[in-house]
Symmetry: C2
Subunit: 206 residues, 2 copies
DNA sequence: CAAAAATACTTAACGGTGTTAAGTAAATCA
DNA sequence: TGATTTACTTAACACCGTTAAGTATTTTTG
């Protein structure tokens, strides 16, 4: 059935076209300026056509949030060149912060907005792959640190929660302008790195 | 001028009526379901009337976010009964987390949503009072801990950022359902407390 | 006291949003 | 060739924040 195959391919192409336009729109306007109608305008189809390929707006945002995780992963390409797991933990935190500040809108989608989690709830089969993978990396490094006795022993889940919590807290407070009165605007980033290093250093001491 | 006085009083009353309705609506429907038109319906005035008392929606949300800080303050009433500043730091963190989980929508407004900060930018005279005050409490306790040599010496701003960052990170990831795959739903709260205690304990050790 | 001005409020609209029911033209199948 | 499926659009529903213009009512002023 060569015809129906080509049809499917065309259908997939349009779906990709929608996604490409969505990425472009989201990068340009962020979550606030992101709308189904603008996507439709960009690809020169009617808004309803978008709904033939995506159930609703959240489903597109879910796809975008997964692309965000791919982008974040690319920040950690050189991570496993670092032999010392404690230094690796430092670097992971730094990369996380850097990604969040470089792409605040993607960060927003991945870790702040409810939208992608809403879609996750409806799809029984799929799980939060991007988030899980990232978390697995963190937990792996923490375990390694503990095995080599570079940090105090303890519950890996609790430590992962605390460390992830801290870097997420820093990034999200920073991109939502809550640090203005704590440190000068231009000092935010260096102070965040200091806070991260202070914490990880403190964790290793006994 | 008794007449104009009474007029002003009536005007203030209507403004209060709007605010009361706003609190009710926000408590019932959260940020997502919060709208100018619904407020107008509740007080049985036209939507435009609301604009005679508040410049825009963000201005009302700003007021609500300040009420949120008042509510949060009430969680710390018994805080200064605790003589030991390190225990007080523990308690402050616990209260912060508890408040965030008890009132996720107010927490959202105070620490996550851009809306109140937007209004803050436009009003040159007013500052982020609620946030500043809360931060001052945290910094005071950290300083006291350092003076009494209960925690390692260091930059108070950096430490405040790290500690606030961590508790905010925990609360905001929890209320946005990002912990689902890290710990079981019913374990989230105890694990958060463990993470907090782990960190603060770790900070004090030398 | 009458005219002018200010006050308090509403109607109606603008331009936007997500989403869906119903309709249409073209392609494919029987 | 007629029936059916496919791909897409039009038009609408029910919302949203915000504002220009209009209307009574009250107050101030000449």
């Amino acid at each position: 059935m060569g015809i129906s195959e080509r049809k499917e391919k065309q259908k997939a192409e349009l779906k990709q076209l929608i996604l490409d336009a969505s990425v472009k729109l989201f990068a340009a306007e962020g979550y606030e300026g992101f709308s189904m109608r603008k996507i439709a305008d960009m690809i020169e189809y009617s808004p309803t056509t978008v709904y033939l390929h995506y159930k609703d707006k959240n489903e597109i945002l879910f796809e975008l949030h997964e692309l965000g995780f791919q982008k974040m992963q690319s920040y950690n390409m050189d991570l496993f060149d670092i032999a010392n797991p404690l230094l690796r933990l430092h670097k992971l935190g730094e990369n996380y912060i850097r990604f969040g500040l470089d792409y605040p809108e993607f960060y927003n989608l991945m870790f702040i907005l409810p939208a992608p989690m809403e879609t996750l709830k409806t799809k029984l089969d799929c799980n939060w792959k991007g988030g899980d993978d990232a978390l697995q990396v963190l937990k792996g490094i923490i375990s390694e640190c503990m095995e080599r006795k570079l940090i105090q022993p303890g519950d890996v889940n609790v430590m992962a929660m605390a460390i992830w919590g801290m870097v997420h807290g820093l990034v999200s407070l920073a991109i939502r302008d809550r640090f203005a009165k704590l440190v000068d605007v231009c000092d935010v980033v260096p102070t965040m790195y200091k806070a991260l290093h202070w914490m990880v250093n403190v964790v290793e001491e006994k």
